[in-house]
């Protein structure tokens, strides 16, 4: 219920911000040489002469029935273009998340297990530096080293899935690493704190008193218990990944949702911007809802009431 309300509020906010300015989209589409008559005609055709609340209802009704409308610029329907872009961004975010987890879980556990030793402190310091490197800076550094110097992977562009799955994956490797490393560094600190918490827990001592060796006891009870606090930040991390993808797609010139958004902003194709911003906001809100539900599955104490 709260989720629906949030999304409703978000849609009003987005619509208001993008339609608050007087300028006519029809004028933008037709250019400065257009006659006032043709601008008027297009305005009526696009339904832009109607009052704003009606325009809003028209837009939101379309979204709910999955009619995203037509681009102001190309006149083409937005949905197929957005679908093609999702085929790039979706896998990019998924790979970024995988990579982030692949970094965060082992380093977080290791720096917790060795928190009394120098190696653990160094690992924790390294994650601190990792957090500070912006993903787009890292992306460019990776391009310089891996793509320009070693010529191992493509520096930019995307080979469509339909052409070559391997090629598509290859063009996503560097973007996914740039995207995942920062989130991984942040997550690593949460994993470390969570594991340290489990290591000091009484139930771990009980498990060892049963005769489980230290490592086995940690695996048996640590995975579940440590995942509870980590899950709570995972939702935030996911929104970080999604918004990070917008920037990373620009770095690697990937034809994803972010690139579509940026080119629409540049062309002042406001209806497309409106659709994409709403899509991203929905994904972020729904992701947080899903994480919240997962959280309840893992932790039985939240079963009732909550």
């Amino acid at each position: 219920m709260a989720t629906v309300l949030t999304l409703f509020g978000a849609s009003v906010l987005v619509f208001a911000v993008l339609n608050i300015l007087p300028g006519s989209p029809a004028q933008v589409i037709l250019g400065t040489q257009a006659t006032p008559a043709s601008v008027r005609e297009l305005t009526i055709k696009l339904g832009l002469n109607q009052p704003l609340p009606l325009q809003y209802l028209h837009w939101i009704g379309g979204l709910l029935s999955l009619h995203l409308g037509n681009s102001y610029i190309s006149g083409q329907p937005i949905a197929p273009e957005l679908g093609a872009a999702l085929a790039v961004t979706g896998p990019l975010v998924a790979l970024g998340l995988l990579f982030g987890l692949a970094i965060a879980v082992p380093t977080g556990i290791l720096s917790a297990l060795r928190h009394r030793r120098a190696s653990g402190t160094w690992l924790a310091a390294a994650t601190q530096v990792g957090i500070a490197i912006p993903n787009f800076v890292l992306g460019i550094l990776l391009i310089i080293v891996v793509a320009v110097d070693w010529r191992l992977l493509p520096a930019s562009g995307f080979i469509p899935w339909s052409q070559s799955v391997g090629g598509a994956l290859r063009s996503l490797v560097l973007p996914a690493i740039s995207l995942g490393l920062v989130e991984g560094a942040i997550l690593s600190r949460y994993v470390r704190t969570a594991i340290l918490g489990v290591m000091q827990a009484d139930y771990l001592r009980t498990a060892r008193a049963k005769g489980l060796p230290a490592r086995r006891a940690l695996v048996r009870h640590g995975v579940r218990n440590a995942s509870v606090p980590v899950l709570t930040v995972l939702g935030l991390e996911l929104s970080g990944l999604i918004i990070g993808a917008v920037v990373i797609e620009a770095v690697f010139t990937l034809p994803g949702v972010g690139s579509l958004l940026l080119s629409s902003v540049a062309n002042r194709d406001l209806i497309t911007v409106q659709d994409i911003v709403m899509l991203v906001a929905t994904v972020v809100v729904v992701t947080n809802l899903l994480v919240d539900m997962l959280y309840r599955v893992v932790d039985p104490r939240l079963e009732v009431g909550g």
């Binding site: 949030t6 978000a10 601190q128 500070a132 800076v137 902003v265 540049a266």
Partner: protein
Amino acid sequence: MSVELGLRPAAARGPVRRLVSRSPSAVFGGLVVGGILLVAMVATFWTPYGPLTISTGKELLPPSAAHLMGTDEYGRDVFSRLMSGTDLTLLSSVGAVLIAGLVGVPAGLLAASRRGAVGETIMRLADLVYSFPALLAAITLVAAFGASTVTATVAIGVASIPSFARVTRSAALPVLASEYVQAARAYGRSPLAILRRHVLPNVAPFIIVQVSLLLSVTVLAVAALSYLGLGTPPPTATWGGMLENAQSYLYQDPLLAVWPGLAIALSVLGFNALGDGLRDLLDPTLRGRS
């Protein structure tokens, strides 16, 4: 089992060493941030070359004594541009934090002192804005109002309001519930006087920490927006814009991209470390938490 040893080896040493040993990250962050402030101040009055001065025949020079970080594709001095970019980045980031603070802190105080419908509405609104990632909000605003320094600053500022409101509210709640505030109320002090005399001083440290942490976020967002071409338009020198330009010359001159990248990463690290360190100094119980 925790054992209080009561040993204080640092107490015998000087105050500087004591600070270093108590919070190395605050000291490190303070030094970095101080350095950035210094560069920005100097850049306001003087840079080795004009940041916009084009010199033909001097394009893409490697670093030398004359051009510490070399020159870009128009023969402009990279070091001068970086200095001037520091100035702009800082102004924009501080502006954004100022906007966020000027709206967020009063909103947080109000939400804390009016527990009913008003407070509830404020926090719901904060949650709503919070569900928009800052960069997405900024892109939306830029789409509506066009790319400029002011739009970028305002956009990032608005998107950062909720984090101020939340921190202020959670810091103010325990103060408002405390006995001395109850006593002040009983004496008939006005709510505004209570806020000024009791709540603000107690909340201030948390706000200072939040300012430092948020600056690292806004520096990053300012750089990202100008990198995406949604911030200050060229030819003005911005870190993000320099990075974007340099990307076209990665094969000829990769160093061109390294300098602004380094500047962004170092400032983010500096503000982050300062904020973390200050938080540790303020509240030792939070030490080690992320």
